[in-house]
Symmetry: C2
Subunit: 321 residues, 2 copies
């Protein structure tokens, strides 16, 4: 069978994803959303083979990662996702089975996250595979979380565990070989991040600044420090490491500078500790306090003795590798 | 100077484009739009080097084409554009001067069309250059134009002239060499389409179906025929050709099947002729009646003698060339 053309691809593969009438079954030039009282939150992140995922990753998880990194941005704003638009820039080498597996990943995640496709576009090229997604979410008017509300003297919290995704990439590259179970867990973190949507929306009105950890904790906290006009001090010993990561070579560096964890890092006043812990229990997402804000600028990491830790690199750069 | 990293690129080049406070100067994970009474229209079209433009086209016009094909989709829905989000997938070979020229094209068009950047993302890859845009517009609630409202017995209209862009591409490829003035006019049509925004919004409440001509008149009218459940008959002699195109070899085929014209093709009841002509005068966009709808399916083209015209190809496929 000849590979599908753009119209067949949209009709056969993408249209079934467009379950909301607002998408008009992808038969018009665009989608029409009726506005409500909520604020609309829009995020846009593209993922590219060899940069954000490995070309050898399973196509279903590639599509899920593309969607989930966008949902993670919505989580960081405290928004509830509703829709997404997808430009699928596919290499000609991607055959029908490959594209169907991509779409199967999206079908699964649409179900898991309650979102649907609002619009889409496909182009065949010599490569690499690019999935460019714009995701939409909603928050009650005026309640979106930002990076700019932290004040000196607040706690810094992070969800889940850090460094797993970076270690998973090392496993995939053959740089390190842990136990089979640990390898599977770490690779899963790299390939299929878990957007912290329930936590993000529960933190509205509690967190003073929030963002997701996509480029490495230190680098991402640097944005909060800069936008809020505060200094952040982290305690290395407080960083949450998973059972699979704790014995890994370079686990601390991965936790501080590895990308792709997609946990939420946020600030909250000291008197909100009880509320933060209650939210963590209610959403079943572990959170730990890893540092504090103060007057000043930048991000410092202290070792067990309270001395500044020297870092090899400030952050993670997603670049062709 | 080393090429800019993603953060520098966003800060230096993209942030000045984000003039609406809703974009939060691109410093948060996403943008926050306050909803209004209008419906929100969202469109998504990606353009890729070698598919939708030539890699040798000037970077400023590449960026303008990327934006304008999306604005054209909004025009086809009768929407007034407000914002756009951009994923800039740039080849590593694109240096700072190249990227600055891309952005200069966007600055010019933001001014021309009253839109601003709401969010963005950049990734460096081995190529090709991809600009993936999601554009937003507004229409009064319930008034968006669609492809599905045509009824049998209506007029079919088209704006401007047809076939110029396809002929312009032939000129760029050296397949044909017209006069210098004609060449410049045709190439301009290919590189920098004119989204018919004023016409589109003025047609709300008049046109029964509308879409833009991006993949060739016959193919695009096929969507209206299919979505509306009507047949469309075109008169070849009625197709509007520009002075630059009229003597070109293959002008009629270019007008029927050439892509990239980004004119609006629409249907309207016969008793709306006066209103259509008044709208054309008011918006200073020429429109001509090129056919009619009837019971049935599909699109037929009749020659001067009223006989069905045999077409070499039904439409234009944007594919790697």
């Amino acid at each position: 069978m000849a590979p599908r053309g753009e119209f067949e691809l949209i009709a056969d593969l993408l249209r079934p994803l467009a379950t909301d009438p607002a998408a008009r079954a992808l038969t018009d030039d665009g989608a029409v959303l009726t506005a409500g009282a909520d604020d609309l939150v829009l995020v846009k992140d593209a993922v590219v083979a060899g940069v954000h995922f490995l070309a050898t990753d399973p196509p279903g998880t590639i599509a899920q990662k593309a969607l989930r990194v966008n949902l993670s941005d919505l989580a960081a704003m405290g928004a509830t996702p509703t829709h997404y638009l997808l430009a699928l820039i596919r290499p000609r080498s991607a055959d029908d089975a490959y594209l169907e597996a991509l779409v199967a990943g999206l079908v699964q995640d649409q179900e898991a996250f309650g979102v649907s496709l609002l619009g889409g576009d496909t182009v065949a090229t010599p490569g690499p595979l690019v999935l460019s997604i714009t995701a939409l979410g909603r928050v009650p008017a005026g309640t979106a979380l930002t990076r700019s509300g932290a004040r000196p003297g607040e706690d810094v919290w992070v969800s889940g565990t850090l460094g797993d995704a970076a270690l998973g990439l090392q496993v995939l590259r053959g740089a390190w070989q842990p136990s089979e179970d640990a390898a599977a867990a770490l690779v899963r973190r790299y390939r299929v991040p878990e957007p912290r949507l329930a936590l993000g929306s529960a933190l509205r009105g509690i967190a003073t600044a929030c963002q997701d950890v996509s480029d490495g904790l230190v680098q991402d906290l640097g944005h909060i420090a800069q936008q809020s006009g505060v200094s952040v001090t982290l305690e290395a010993a407080a960083l949450p490491l998973s059972g699979a990561a704790v014995d890994a070579p370079g686990a601390l560096e991965a936790a501080l500078t590895g990308g792709d964890d997609y946990e939420l890092v946020f600030t909250a006043p000291k008197d909100a500790r009880g509320r933060v812990e209650e939210v963590a229990r209610r959403t079943a997402v572990p959170v730990v306090q890893i540092g504090a804000t103060s007057l000043g600028t930048g991000v410092a990491v202290l070792d067990d003795a309270g001395e500044p830790l020297a870092l090899a690199g400030a952050g993670w750069t997603h670049c062709w590798n």
